[in-house]
Symmetry: C2
Subunit: 296 residues, 2 copies
Protein backbone atom coordinates (compact mmCIF):
# COMPACT_ATOMS: atom_id res chain seq x y z
CA UNK A 1 0.00 0.00 0.00
CA UNK A 2 1.76 3.15 -1.17
CA UNK A 3 -1.33 5.14 -1.95
CA UNK A 4 -4.41 5.73 0.17
CA UNK A 5 -7.91 5.04 -1.04
CA UNK A 6 -9.94 8.23 -1.12
CA UNK A 7 -6.93 10.36 -0.18
CA UNK A 8 -7.35 12.63 -3.19
CA UNK A 9 -11.08 12.91 -2.52
CA UNK A 10 -10.52 14.02 1.08
CA UNK A 11 -7.67 16.30 0.02
CA UNK A 12 -9.92 18.01 -2.52
CA UNK A 13 -12.70 18.30 0.04
CA UNK A 14 -10.60 19.91 2.75
CA UNK A 15 -8.76 22.13 0.27
CA UNK A 16 -12.08 23.45 -0.98
CA UNK A 17 -13.34 24.12 2.54
CA UNK A 18 -10.13 25.91 3.49
CA UNK A 19 -10.16 27.95 0.27
CA UNK A 20 -13.79 28.90 0.86
CA UNK A 21 -12.95 30.09 4.36
CA UNK A 22 -10.11 32.28 3.11
CA UNK A 23 -12.27 33.59 0.25
CA UNK A 24 -14.84 34.64 2.84
CA UNK A 25 -12.40 36.84 4.77
CA UNK A 26 -12.46 40.58 4.10
CA UNK A 27 -9.46 41.90 2.20
CA UNK A 28 -8.01 44.11 4.93
CA UNK A 29 -4.43 43.22 4.22
CA UNK A 30 -3.69 41.57 0.88
CA UNK A 31 -0.19 40.46 1.80
CA UNK A 32 -1.18 38.77 5.04
CA UNK A 33 -4.14 37.07 3.40
CA UNK A 34 -1.95 35.83 0.54
CA UNK A 35 0.61 34.49 3.02
CA UNK A 36 -2.13 32.65 4.90
CA UNK A 37 -3.34 31.20 1.60
CA UNK A 38 0.22 30.23 0.69
CA UNK A 39 0.74 28.53 4.04
CA UNK A 40 -2.59 26.75 3.99
CA UNK A 41 -3.10 25.80 0.35
CA UNK A 42 0.30 25.35 -1.31
CA UNK A 43 0.18 21.62 -0.82
CA UNK A 44 0.58 19.09 1.91
CA UNK A 45 -0.55 15.53 2.22
CA UNK A 46 -3.54 16.38 4.44
CA UNK A 47 -2.80 13.40 6.67
CA UNK A 48 -4.70 14.88 9.60
CA UNK A 49 -7.88 15.53 7.63
CA UNK A 50 -7.54 12.06 6.12
CA UNK A 51 -7.39 10.55 9.62
CA UNK A 52 -10.35 12.66 10.73
CA UNK A 53 -12.56 11.56 7.82
CA UNK A 54 -11.43 7.95 7.92
CA UNK A 55 -11.94 7.61 11.67
CA UNK A 56 -15.20 9.52 11.78
CA UNK A 57 -16.84 7.77 8.83
CA UNK A 58 -15.81 4.34 10.12
CA UNK A 59 -17.62 5.18 13.36
CA UNK A 60 -20.69 6.79 11.81
CA UNK A 61 -19.96 10.47 12.53
CA UNK A 62 -21.56 13.18 10.41
CA UNK A 63 -19.54 14.52 7.51
CA UNK A 64 -20.21 18.17 8.38
CA UNK A 65 -18.73 17.70 11.85
CA UNK A 66 -15.66 16.01 10.39
CA UNK A 67 -15.25 18.91 7.96
CA UNK A 68 -14.96 21.41 10.81
CA UNK A 69 -12.50 19.27 12.74
CA UNK A 70 -10.37 18.48 9.67
CA UNK A 71 -10.08 22.18 8.80
CA UNK A 72 -9.28 23.22 12.37
CA UNK A 73 -6.49 20.65 12.68
CA UNK A 74 -5.04 21.48 9.28
CA UNK A 75 -4.90 25.18 10.24
CA UNK A 76 -2.92 24.31 13.37
CA UNK A 77 -0.60 22.09 11.33
CA UNK A 78 -0.10 24.75 8.65
CA UNK A 79 0.63 27.49 11.19
CA UNK A 80 3.20 25.29 12.89
CA UNK A 81 5.03 24.73 9.60
CA UNK A 82 5.21 28.47 8.89
CA UNK A 83 6.74 29.10 12.32
CA UNK A 84 8.97 26.02 12.38
CA UNK A 85 10.53 27.03 9.06
CA UNK A 86 11.53 30.50 10.34
CA UNK A 87 15.24 31.39 10.51
CA UNK A 88 15.11 31.48 14.32
CA UNK A 89 13.69 27.93 14.35
CA UNK A 90 14.58 25.27 11.77
CA UNK A 91 15.66 27.87 9.16
CA UNK A 92 14.30 26.01 6.13
CA UNK A 93 14.23 27.58 2.67
CA UNK A 94 12.09 24.92 1.03
CA UNK A 95 8.83 23.25 1.98
CA UNK A 96 7.04 20.89 -0.37
CA UNK A 97 9.47 21.91 -3.11
CA UNK A 98 8.49 25.57 -2.84
CA UNK A 99 10.08 28.52 -1.04
CA UNK A 100 9.01 28.60 2.59
CA UNK A 101 6.55 31.35 3.54
CA UNK A 102 9.18 33.71 4.97
CA UNK A 103 11.18 33.30 1.75
CA UNK A 104 8.17 33.87 -0.51
CA UNK A 105 7.01 36.84 1.63
CA UNK A 106 9.05 38.02 4.62
CA UNK A 107 9.63 36.96 8.21
CA UNK A 108 7.14 39.34 9.80
CA UNK A 109 4.42 38.23 7.41
CA UNK A 110 5.19 34.55 8.00
CA UNK A 111 4.97 35.07 11.76
CA UNK A 112 1.65 36.91 11.46
CA UNK A 113 0.26 34.44 8.92
CA UNK A 114 1.09 31.65 11.36
CA UNK A 115 -0.54 33.53 14.21
CA UNK A 116 -3.64 34.16 12.10
CA UNK A 117 -3.84 30.53 11.02
CA UNK A 118 -3.77 29.43 14.64
CA UNK A 119 -6.74 31.70 15.34
CA UNK A 120 -8.39 30.40 12.16
CA UNK A 121 -8.31 26.90 13.62
CA UNK A 122 -10.45 28.07 16.53
CA UNK A 123 -12.54 30.07 14.04
CA UNK A 124 -13.53 26.75 12.46
CA UNK A 125 -14.68 25.43 15.84
CA UNK A 126 -16.52 28.70 16.48
CA UNK A 127 -18.18 29.26 13.11
CA UNK A 128 -18.29 26.05 11.05
CA UNK A 129 -21.86 24.74 10.67
CA UNK A 130 -21.52 21.73 12.95
CA UNK A 131 -24.52 19.45 13.46
CA UNK A 132 -26.48 19.81 16.70
CA UNK A 133 -24.60 16.80 18.04
CA UNK A 134 -21.28 18.33 16.99
CA UNK A 135 -22.28 21.56 18.75
CA UNK A 136 -23.06 19.62 21.92
CA UNK A 137 -19.57 18.15 21.76
CA UNK A 138 -17.93 21.56 21.26
CA UNK A 139 -16.62 21.97 24.83
CA UNK A 140 -14.79 18.64 24.50
CA UNK A 141 -13.60 19.38 20.96
CA UNK A 142 -12.24 22.74 22.12
CA UNK A 143 -10.44 21.08 25.03
CA UNK A 144 -8.91 18.47 22.75
CA UNK A 145 -7.74 21.02 20.19
CA UNK A 146 -6.19 23.20 22.90
CA UNK A 147 -4.40 20.24 24.48
CA UNK A 148 -3.05 19.07 21.11
CA UNK A 149 -1.89 22.46 19.89
CA UNK A 150 -0.42 24.29 22.88
CA UNK A 151 2.31 23.99 25.48
CA UNK A 152 1.10 20.53 26.47
CA UNK A 153 1.10 19.38 22.86
CA UNK A 154 2.63 20.51 19.61
CA UNK A 155 4.20 23.78 20.80
CA UNK A 156 5.84 22.08 23.74
CA UNK A 157 7.14 19.38 21.42
CA UNK A 158 8.71 21.91 19.07
CA UNK A 159 10.40 23.61 22.05
CA UNK A 160 11.76 20.26 23.25
CA UNK A 161 12.92 19.47 19.72
CA UNK A 162 14.81 22.76 19.52
CA UNK A 163 16.37 22.15 22.97
CA UNK A 164 17.50 18.71 21.78
CA UNK A 165 19.24 20.08 18.69
CA UNK A 166 23.00 19.54 18.82
CA UNK A 167 22.53 17.12 21.72
CA UNK A 168 22.33 13.37 21.86
CA UNK A 169 19.01 12.56 23.47
CA UNK A 170 17.82 9.22 24.81
CA UNK A 171 15.23 7.13 23.00
CA UNK A 172 12.71 8.06 25.70
CA UNK A 173 13.36 11.75 25.24
CA UNK A 174 13.06 11.43 21.46
CA UNK A 175 9.75 9.65 21.92
CA UNK A 176 8.43 12.40 24.21
CA UNK A 177 9.43 15.03 21.64
CA UNK A 178 7.57 13.27 18.86
CA UNK A 179 4.55 12.36 20.96
CA UNK A 180 4.09 16.08 21.51
CA UNK A 181 5.44 17.62 18.32
CA UNK A 182 3.66 15.49 15.73
CA UNK A 183 1.81 12.87 17.76
CA UNK A 184 -0.53 15.24 19.57
CA UNK A 185 -2.23 16.52 16.40
CA UNK A 186 -2.45 13.07 14.82
CA UNK A 187 -3.98 11.74 18.01
CA UNK A 188 -6.42 14.65 18.13
CA UNK A 189 -7.45 13.82 14.55
CA UNK A 190 -8.63 10.44 15.79
CA UNK A 191 -10.01 11.48 19.18
CA UNK A 192 -11.88 14.56 17.92
CA UNK A 193 -13.42 12.52 15.10
CA UNK A 194 -14.43 9.72 17.48
CA UNK A 195 -15.95 12.31 19.84
CA UNK A 196 -18.44 13.16 17.09
CA UNK A 197 -19.61 9.57 16.66
CA UNK A 198 -22.78 8.78 18.56
CA UNK A 199 -22.29 5.29 19.91
CA UNK A 200 -18.58 4.96 20.58
CA UNK A 201 -17.86 3.97 24.19
CA UNK A 202 -15.16 5.56 26.33
CA UNK A 203 -13.19 2.31 26.19
CA UNK A 204 -13.32 2.31 22.40
CA UNK A 205 -12.22 5.96 22.37
CA UNK A 206 -9.22 4.98 24.49
CA UNK A 207 -8.36 2.17 22.08
CA UNK A 208 -8.61 4.58 19.17
CA UNK A 209 -6.36 7.05 21.00
CA UNK A 210 -3.82 4.26 21.52
CA UNK A 211 -3.99 3.40 17.82
CA UNK A 212 -3.39 7.05 17.01
CA UNK A 213 -0.40 7.27 19.37
CA UNK A 214 1.16 4.19 17.78
CA UNK A 215 0.77 5.37 14.21
CA UNK A 216 1.81 8.88 15.24
CA UNK A 217 5.12 7.50 16.44
CA UNK A 218 5.41 5.17 13.44
CA UNK A 219 4.85 8.20 11.20
CA UNK A 220 7.78 10.00 12.79
CA UNK A 221 10.10 6.99 12.73
CA UNK A 222 9.31 6.53 9.04
CA UNK A 223 9.83 10.26 8.44
CA UNK A 224 13.32 9.99 9.95
CA UNK A 225 14.02 6.93 7.79
CA UNK A 226 12.78 8.68 4.66
CA UNK A 227 14.97 11.69 5.41
CA UNK A 228 18.05 9.54 4.76
CA UNK A 229 16.74 7.02 2.20
CA UNK A 230 14.78 9.31 -0.12
CA UNK A 231 15.90 11.81 -2.78
CA UNK A 232 15.63 15.60 -2.61
CA UNK A 233 13.18 15.47 -5.49
CA UNK A 234 10.94 13.06 -3.59
CA UNK A 235 11.20 15.04 -0.35
CA UNK A 236 10.72 18.53 -1.74
CA UNK A 237 13.57 19.58 0.55
CA UNK A 238 17.26 18.65 0.85
CA UNK A 239 17.93 15.02 1.76
CA UNK A 240 19.48 14.46 5.17
CA UNK A 241 18.23 17.81 6.45
CA UNK A 242 17.62 16.36 9.93
CA UNK A 243 21.24 15.22 10.17
CA UNK A 244 22.39 18.53 8.70
CA UNK A 245 20.43 20.32 11.43
CA UNK A 246 21.93 18.07 14.13
CA UNK A 247 18.53 16.67 15.04
CA UNK A 248 18.31 13.39 16.89
CA UNK A 249 16.56 10.80 14.74
CA UNK A 250 15.57 7.18 15.17
CA UNK A 251 18.09 5.93 12.59
CA UNK A 252 20.81 7.98 14.33
CA UNK A 253 19.95 6.52 17.73
CA UNK A 254 19.09 2.96 16.67
CA UNK A 255 20.72 2.45 13.30
CA UNK A 256 18.65 2.19 10.11
CA UNK A 257 17.73 -1.50 10.44
CA UNK A 258 16.50 -1.19 14.02
CA UNK A 259 14.61 1.99 13.18
CA UNK A 260 12.87 0.10 10.38
CA UNK A 261 12.10 -2.70 12.83
CA UNK A 262 10.69 -0.17 15.30
CA UNK A 263 8.36 1.24 12.66
CA UNK A 264 7.23 -2.31 11.87
CA UNK A 265 6.56 -3.13 15.56
CA UNK A 266 4.54 0.06 16.06
CA UNK A 267 2.61 -0.81 12.91
CA UNK A 268 1.76 -4.30 14.12
CA UNK A 269 0.69 -2.99 17.53
CA UNK A 270 -1.54 -0.39 15.87
CA UNK A 271 -3.27 -3.15 13.86
CA UNK A 272 -3.77 -5.18 17.05
CA UNK A 273 -5.46 -2.18 18.70
CA UNK A 274 -7.80 -1.78 15.73
CA UNK A 275 -8.68 -5.48 15.73
CA UNK A 276 -10.38 -5.13 19.13
CA UNK A 277 -12.91 -2.60 17.83
CA UNK A 278 -16.41 -3.66 16.69
CA UNK A 279 -16.27 -1.46 13.59
CA UNK A 280 -15.00 -1.89 10.08
CA UNK A 281 -11.65 -0.20 10.51
CA UNK A 282 -10.09 -1.32 7.23
CA UNK A 283 -9.48 2.25 6.14
CA UNK A 284 -7.62 3.00 9.37
CA UNK A 285 -5.54 -0.13 8.86
CA UNK A 286 -4.82 1.06 5.33
CA UNK A 287 -3.63 4.33 6.80
CA UNK A 288 -1.28 2.54 9.18
CA UNK A 289 0.08 0.50 6.27
CA UNK A 290 0.57 3.62 4.22
CA UNK A 291 2.45 5.32 7.07
CA UNK A 292 5.13 2.66 7.33
CA UNK A 293 5.32 1.74 3.62
CA UNK A 294 5.63 5.22 2.13
CA UNK A 295 9.01 6.07 0.68
CA UNK A 296 8.66 9.85 0.54
CA UNK B 1 -8.40 60.94 37.32
CA UNK B 2 -4.90 59.51 36.86
CA UNK B 3 -5.47 56.32 38.81
CA UNK B 4 -8.27 53.80 38.52
CA UNK B 5 -10.33 52.66 41.46
CA UNK B 6 -9.88 48.94 42.04
CA UNK B 7 -7.22 48.66 39.33
CA UNK B 8 -4.71 47.10 41.71
CA UNK B 9 -7.37 44.72 43.02
CA UNK B 10 -8.25 43.50 39.52
CA UNK B 11 -4.57 43.35 38.55
CA UNK B 12 -3.81 41.16 41.56
CA UNK B 13 -6.82 38.97 40.79
CA UNK B 14 -5.95 38.32 37.15
CA UNK B 15 -2.23 37.92 37.91
CA UNK B 16 -3.06 35.25 40.47
CA UNK B 17 -5.34 33.40 38.06
CA UNK B 18 -2.74 33.52 35.28
CA UNK B 19 0.02 32.37 37.65
CA UNK B 20 -2.17 29.51 38.90
CA UNK B 21 -2.77 28.42 35.31
CA UNK B 22 0.95 28.35 34.52
CA UNK B 23 1.71 26.59 37.82
CA UNK B 24 -0.75 23.88 36.79
CA UNK B 25 1.07 23.08 33.55
CA UNK B 26 3.40 20.07 33.50
CA UNK B 27 7.09 20.93 33.35
CA UNK B 28 7.85 19.44 29.92
CA UNK B 29 10.09 22.25 28.82
CA UNK B 30 11.41 24.58 31.52
CA UNK B 31 12.64 27.25 29.13
CA UNK B 32 9.38 27.54 27.20
CA UNK B 33 7.34 27.62 30.40
CA UNK B 34 9.59 30.31 31.88
CA UNK B 35 9.29 32.38 28.70
CA UNK B 36 5.50 32.08 28.85
CA UNK B 37 5.62 33.18 32.49
CA UNK B 38 7.91 36.08 31.56
CA UNK B 39 5.61 37.19 28.79
CA UNK B 40 2.45 36.85 30.84
CA UNK B 41 3.47 37.97 34.32
CA UNK B 42 6.33 40.46 34.03
CA UNK B 43 3.96 43.40 34.28
CA UNK B 44 1.42 45.21 32.21
CA UNK B 45 -1.41 47.48 33.16
CA UNK B 46 -4.07 44.79 32.71
CA UNK B 47 -6.35 47.25 30.94
CA UNK B 48 -8.30 44.52 29.21
CA UNK B 49 -9.04 42.58 32.41
CA UNK B 50 -9.94 45.87 34.07
CA UNK B 51 -12.45 46.58 31.31
CA UNK B 52 -13.84 43.06 31.56
CA UNK B 53 -14.41 43.26 35.32
CA UNK B 54 -15.68 46.82 35.27
CA UNK B 55 -18.13 46.19 32.45
CA UNK B 56 -19.30 42.84 33.72
CA UNK B 57 -19.83 43.88 37.33
CA UNK B 58 -21.67 47.03 36.29
CA UNK B 59 -24.08 44.79 34.36
CA UNK B 60 -24.42 42.08 37.00
CA UNK B 61 -22.32 39.33 35.38
CA UNK B 62 -20.80 36.60 37.54
CA UNK B 63 -17.24 37.10 38.69
CA UNK B 64 -16.15 33.57 37.72
CA UNK B 65 -17.21 34.17 34.11
CA UNK B 66 -15.35 37.48 34.01
CA UNK B 67 -12.24 35.73 35.37
CA UNK B 68 -12.15 33.34 32.41
CA UNK B 69 -12.69 36.12 29.88
CA UNK B 70 -10.14 38.44 31.47
CA UNK B 71 -7.48 35.71 31.44
CA UNK B 72 -8.23 34.69 27.86
CA UNK B 73 -7.94 38.27 26.59
CA UNK B 74 -4.78 38.95 28.56
CA UNK B 75 -3.17 35.81 27.06
CA UNK B 76 -3.94 37.09 23.55
CA UNK B 77 -2.56 40.53 24.43
CA UNK B 78 0.60 39.05 25.98
CA UNK B 79 1.27 36.77 23.00
CA UNK B 80 0.89 39.70 20.61
CA UNK B 81 3.49 41.70 22.53
CA UNK B 82 6.02 38.84 22.40
CA UNK B 83 5.60 38.57 18.63
CA UNK B 84 5.36 42.32 17.93
CA UNK B 85 8.67 42.90 19.75
CA UNK B 86 10.55 40.37 17.58
CA UNK B 87 13.41 41.61 15.37
CA UNK B 88 11.39 40.82 12.22
CA UNK B 89 8.52 42.95 13.51
CA UNK B 90 9.00 46.07 15.69
CA UNK B 91 12.46 44.96 16.88
CA UNK B 92 12.12 46.27 20.43
CA UNK B 93 14.71 45.53 23.12
CA UNK B 94 12.70 46.83 26.05
CA UNK B 95 9.14 46.27 27.21
CA UNK B 96 7.89 47.65 30.51
CA UNK B 97 11.45 48.59 31.39
CA UNK B 98 12.66 44.98 31.04
CA UNK B 99 14.39 43.12 28.22
CA UNK B 100 11.85 41.86 25.70
CA UNK B 101 11.23 38.10 25.70
CA UNK B 102 13.51 37.35 22.75
CA UNK B 103 16.29 39.31 24.50
CA UNK B 104 15.77 37.59 27.85
CA UNK B 105 15.50 34.16 26.16
CA UNK B 106 15.96 33.80 22.39
CA UNK B 107 13.91 34.37 19.26
CA UNK B 108 12.74 30.80 18.81
CA UNK B 109 11.57 30.64 22.41
CA UNK B 110 9.78 33.99 22.14
CA UNK B 111 7.96 32.80 19.00
CA UNK B 112 6.93 29.53 20.67
CA UNK B 113 5.98 31.23 23.93
CA UNK B 114 3.74 33.57 21.93
CA UNK B 115 2.22 30.65 20.07
CA UNK B 116 1.60 28.80 23.32
CA UNK B 117 0.06 31.86 24.95
CA UNK B 118 -2.36 32.19 22.06
CA UNK B 119 -3.45 28.59 22.63
CA UNK B 120 -3.61 29.30 26.37
CA UNK B 121 -6.22 31.98 25.69
CA UNK B 122 -8.49 29.35 24.17
CA UNK B 123 -7.50 27.00 27.00
CA UNK B 124 -9.15 29.46 29.40
CA UNK B 125 -12.37 29.33 27.38
CA UNK B 126 -12.14 25.54 27.24
CA UNK B 127 -11.20 24.76 30.82
CA UNK B 128 -11.95 27.67 33.14
CA UNK B 129 -14.83 26.88 35.54
CA UNK B 130 -17.43 29.15 33.95
CA UNK B 131 -20.91 29.29 35.46
CA UNK B 132 -23.68 27.38 33.69
CA UNK B 133 -24.78 30.65 32.10
CA UNK B 134 -21.20 31.38 31.00
CA UNK B 135 -21.00 27.88 29.51
CA UNK B 136 -24.21 28.50 27.58
CA UNK B 137 -22.64 31.63 26.15
CA UNK B 138 -19.43 29.82 25.16
CA UNK B 139 -20.18 29.60 21.42
CA UNK B 140 -20.63 33.39 21.30
CA UNK B 141 -17.61 34.03 23.53
CA UNK B 142 -15.48 31.82 21.30
CA UNK B 143 -16.70 33.66 18.20
CA UNK B 144 -15.93 37.01 19.75
CA UNK B 145 -12.44 36.00 20.87
CA UNK B 146 -11.63 34.59 17.43
CA UNK B 147 -12.88 37.73 15.68
CA UNK B 148 -10.88 39.99 18.01
CA UNK B 149 -7.63 38.05 17.86
CA UNK B 150 -7.21 36.84 14.29
CA UNK B 151 -6.91 38.13 10.75
CA UNK B 152 -10.10 40.15 11.11
CA UNK B 153 -8.86 41.70 14.34
CA UNK B 154 -5.56 42.17 16.09
CA UNK B 155 -3.35 40.12 13.73
CA UNK B 156 -4.71 41.91 10.69
CA UNK B 157 -4.12 45.23 12.42
CA UNK B 158 -0.49 44.42 13.16
CA UNK B 159 0.00 43.43 9.50
CA UNK B 160 -1.54 46.72 8.34
CA UNK B 161 0.62 48.58 10.85
CA UNK B 162 3.77 46.95 9.47
CA UNK B 163 2.70 47.70 5.89
CA UNK B 164 2.17 51.34 6.88
CA UNK B 165 5.67 51.71 8.35
CA UNK B 166 7.79 54.20 6.38
CA UNK B 167 4.67 55.41 4.59
CA UNK B 168 2.41 58.36 5.21
CA UNK B 169 -1.06 56.93 5.71
CA UNK B 170 -4.36 58.80 5.76
CA UNK B 171 -6.27 59.41 8.96
CA UNK B 172 -8.83 56.82 7.84
CA UNK B 173 -6.13 54.23 7.27
CA UNK B 174 -4.56 54.96 10.65
CA UNK B 175 -7.97 54.56 12.28
CA UNK B 176 -8.51 51.19 10.58
CA UNK B 177 -5.10 50.00 11.77
CA UNK B 178 -5.85 50.90 15.36
CA UNK B 179 -9.43 49.67 15.31
CA UNK B 180 -7.99 46.27 14.47
CA UNK B 181 -4.62 46.27 16.21
CA UNK B 182 -5.62 47.48 19.66
CA UNK B 183 -9.31 48.30 19.34
CA UNK B 184 -10.51 44.77 18.64
CA UNK B 185 -9.30 43.32 21.96
CA UNK B 186 -10.51 46.32 23.98
CA UNK B 187 -13.90 46.03 22.31
CA UNK B 188 -13.98 42.30 22.99
CA UNK B 189 -13.26 43.02 26.66
CA UNK B 190 -16.52 44.94 26.81
CA UNK B 191 -18.62 42.78 24.49
CA UNK B 192 -17.52 39.44 26.01
CA UNK B 193 -18.21 40.76 29.50
CA UNK B 194 -21.62 42.10 28.50
CA UNK B 195 -22.42 38.75 26.87
CA UNK B 196 -22.19 37.17 30.33
CA UNK B 197 -24.70 39.55 31.89
CA UNK B 198 -28.20 38.14 32.08
CA UNK B 199 -30.49 41.05 31.26
CA UNK B 200 -28.56 43.21 28.84
CA UNK B 201 -30.50 43.79 25.60
CA UNK B 202 -28.95 43.59 22.16
CA UNK B 203 -29.36 47.35 21.79
CA UNK B 204 -27.48 47.93 25.03
CA UNK B 205 -24.76 45.54 23.88
CA UNK B 206 -24.39 47.61 20.70
CA UNK B 207 -24.11 50.81 22.75
CA UNK B 208 -21.45 49.19 24.94
CA UNK B 209 -19.58 48.08 21.81
CA UNK B 210 -19.68 51.65 20.52
CA UNK B 211 -18.35 52.91 23.86
CA UNK B 212 -15.55 50.36 23.62
CA UNK B 213 -14.67 51.41 20.06
CA UNK B 214 -14.50 55.06 21.09
CA UNK B 215 -12.27 54.49 24.10
CA UNK B 216 -10.18 52.00 22.11
CA UNK B 217 -9.40 54.73 19.62
CA UNK B 218 -8.92 57.31 22.38
CA UNK B 219 -6.49 54.91 24.04
CA UNK B 220 -4.38 54.75 20.89
CA UNK B 221 -4.46 58.51 20.24
CA UNK B 222 -3.33 59.09 23.82
CA UNK B 223 -0.65 56.40 23.43
CA UNK B 224 0.73 58.26 20.43
CA UNK B 225 0.65 61.52 22.38
CA UNK B 226 2.39 59.94 25.36
CA UNK B 227 5.10 58.54 23.09
CA UNK B 228 6.30 62.08 22.41
CA UNK B 229 5.37 63.88 25.63
CA UNK B 230 6.52 61.32 28.22
CA UNK B 231 10.00 60.38 29.48
CA UNK B 232 11.82 57.10 28.84
CA UNK B 233 11.60 56.38 32.56
CA UNK B 234 7.82 56.77 32.53
CA UNK B 235 7.42 54.74 29.34
CA UNK B 236 9.74 51.85 30.20
CA UNK B 237 11.00 52.15 26.62
CA UNK B 238 12.77 54.87 24.61
CA UNK B 239 10.75 58.04 24.10
CA UNK B 240 9.72 58.77 20.51
CA UNK B 241 10.06 55.11 19.53
CA UNK B 242 7.08 55.37 17.17
CA UNK B 243 8.73 58.24 15.29
CA UNK B 244 12.06 56.39 15.38
CA UNK B 245 10.32 53.39 13.79
CA UNK B 246 8.70 55.60 11.12
CA UNK B 247 5.22 54.73 12.34
CA UNK B 248 2.33 56.98 11.44
CA UNK B 249 0.86 58.53 14.58
CA UNK B 250 -1.99 60.89 15.33
CA UNK B 251 0.33 63.73 16.41
CA UNK B 252 2.35 63.23 13.21
CA UNK B 253 -0.78 63.38 11.04
CA UNK B 254 -2.74 66.01 12.96
CA UNK B 255 -0.21 67.89 15.03
CA UNK B 256 -0.07 67.55 18.82
CA UNK B 257 -2.86 70.00 19.63
CA UNK B 258 -5.36 68.48 17.21
CA UNK B 259 -4.43 64.96 18.36
CA UNK B 260 -5.19 66.05 21.92
CA UNK B 261 -8.48 67.51 20.73
CA UNK B 262 -9.30 64.25 18.96
CA UNK B 263 -8.74 62.28 22.16
CA UNK B 264 -10.99 64.71 23.99
CA UNK B 265 -13.77 64.39 21.37
CA UNK B 266 -13.63 60.59 21.47
CA UNK B 267 -13.76 60.79 25.26
CA UNK B 268 -16.85 63.00 25.27
CA UNK B 269 -18.59 60.75 22.74
CA UNK B 270 -17.80 57.69 24.86
CA UNK B 271 -19.42 59.35 27.89
CA UNK B 272 -22.49 60.19 25.82
CA UNK B 273 -22.82 56.54 24.81
CA UNK B 274 -22.63 55.44 28.45
CA UNK B 275 -25.23 58.00 29.52
CA UNK B 276 -27.92 56.23 27.50
CA UNK B 277 -27.53 53.00 29.48
CA UNK B 278 -29.84 52.17 32.42
CA UNK B 279 -26.95 50.94 34.58
CA UNK B 280 -24.53 52.60 36.94
CA UNK B 281 -21.61 52.97 34.55
CA UNK B 282 -19.51 55.31 36.69
CA UNK B 283 -16.59 52.89 36.71
CA UNK B 284 -16.61 52.72 32.90
CA UNK B 285 -16.70 56.51 32.76
CA UNK B 286 -13.75 56.53 35.16
CA UNK B 287 -11.92 54.24 32.77
CA UNK B 288 -12.58 56.58 29.85
CA UNK B 289 -11.30 59.48 31.92
CA UNK B 290 -8.21 57.54 32.88
CA UNK B 291 -7.52 56.68 29.23
CA UNK B 292 -7.32 60.29 28.07
CA UNK B 293 -5.78 61.77 31.23
CA UNK B 294 -2.91 59.34 31.76
CA UNK B 295 0.55 60.72 31.08
CA UNK B 296 2.46 57.44 30.74
Amino acid sequence: MTTLPQLSEYQARVNQLLANKLDGLPVNDTKLLEAMRYGLLIGGKRMRPYLVYTTGLALGAKLEDLDGIACALECIHAYSLLHDDLPAMDDDDLRRGQPTCHKAFDEATAILAGDSLQTLAFDFLANHPFSDFGQQKMPTLLQQLVAAAGYQGMCGGQALDLSATDKRVSLNELETIHKLKTGALLKASVTMASECALQVTDEQKTTLATFAELIGLAYQVQDDIIDITSTQEQLGKPKGSDIEANKSTYPALLGLADAQQKAETLYQESLQALATLPYNTDTLADFATFIVRRTH
